[in-house]
């Protein structure tokens, strides 16, 4: 479930650690017997993260809030996890507001992530970023290229495996 948040944050500042996300709407559905996890998931940086964000962006980005509407069939995830197979997720739109030193931007992007599970957890990840809106096209293309590039896929994979490891300790 944290996937989108991790993805988004990683897009903007590599190796992000994500703390503050609003799971109010998603938690009850996740814990219910309903199969489709259809809910709004919001995220914003907290105090320490804002500081890291600012430092990593050389003082330019001050805050980041994002929201997405999750649409994930729980059985698909559970079955893939247990049988070490793949999960192709449907398109998700992520809308973010970026507060810089002096301005505010609204950026949107679509992702259709694909995960492959193996014996040791997530073995392969593809974010499949399809579209970026709200910034000049030349920067949008750069973001798509970076977002779909091997460096970020590797980081997301590591982040997800870390998340699964933490989750399993609970």
């Amino acid at each position: 479930m944290r996937l989108f948040i991790v993805l988004m944050a990683m897009l903007f500042f590599s190796k992000a650690s994500i703390a503050e996300f609003d799971t109010k709407a998603c938690k009850p559905i996740l814990r219910s017997t309903e199969n489709l996890l259809a809910c709004k998931l919001g995220y914003s940086t907290e105090g320490r993260e804002r500081e890291v964000l600012m430092k990593n962006t050389y003082g330019i980005i001050r805050n980041l809030t994002c929201i997405t509407h999750l649409n994930i069939p729980k059985n698909k995830v559970a079955n893939a996890l247990l049988s070490a197979s793949e999960i192709p997720l449907p398109d998700h739109q992520i809308d973010c507001e970026i507060q810089t030193n002096g301005a505010q931007f609204k950026i949107g992007l679509t992702v259709a992530p694909w995960l492959q599970f193996g014996d040791e957890g997530v073995s392969e990840v593809r974010l499949n970023i399809g579209k970026v809106t709200g910034i000049p096209a030349f920067l949008g293309r750069r973001l798509v290229k970076y977002g779909n590039g091997p460096t970020l896929q590797k980081e997301v994979k590591e982040g997800l495996n870390q998340f699964i490891a933490n989750f399993c300790q609970l």
Binding site: Y58, T100, N101, F138, L139, T151
Partner: protein, 174 residues
């Protein structure tokens, strides 16, 4: 980081289509990577061996070497906000001081420019070097430099160079 636009500008002014290699960016890189908003630092550049050869060839054997320095004063947020909001970057006047080594005596030339850069959907859409003053040269030559420096041809070249830089920038991870 490479806000070495000034280096490119100056080099273009003096040796059209020059590529600059020897840039001392240590002081500026440090400020750029800090959280301070204004990149306020001394930036200097000089030609390397290959460029010196090209320079000499392009000036028919007259100019042998160029070293320049400028004190950058660029608010990072202005640049970033313009990039992401497809806005305009208006920079404050910058003086570039150059030493030109000819086949004979060295000359000191200074020029003041206050560039503006308009960002569009496909990168830099318009550029104005806005050269305001040239010192160290007889006025009639200085006026020629200003005329050439502010000419559409050179703005076009500066635009192309900046877009090339944006296509492969250091500010966004690959």
């Amino acid at each position: 980081m490479r806000l070495f636009i000034f280096a490119v500008f100056t080099a273009m002014l003096l040796t059209s289509k020059a590529s600059l290699a020897g840039i001392d960016k240590e002081a500026c890189e440090k400020v750029f990577r800090s959280t301070a908003n204004v990149v306020d630092c001394q930036l200097s550049f000089s030609t390397d061996a290959r460029e010196r050869e090209a320079l000499m060839k392009n000036t028919y054997g007259i100019i042998r070497n160029i070293t320049c320095g400028t004190h950058l004063n660029i608010p990072k947020n202005q640049v970033f906000n313009a990039l992401f909001g497809a806005g305009k970057i208006i920079l404050s006047p910058h003086t570039i001081d150059c030493e030109i080594q000819t086949n004979g005596d060295p000359f000191k030339i200074g020029m003041t420019l206050a560039p503006f850069i308009q960002i569009g959907d496909e990168g830099v859409s318009e550029i104005g070097l806005n050269i305001q003053k040239v010192t160290g040269l007889p006025a009639f030559i200085g006026n020629l430099v200003i005329k050439y420096g502010n000419s559409p041809e050179l703005q076009q070249e500066a635009k192309k160079a900046l877009n090339q830089f944006l296509a492969n920038p250091g500010f966004m991870p690959q």
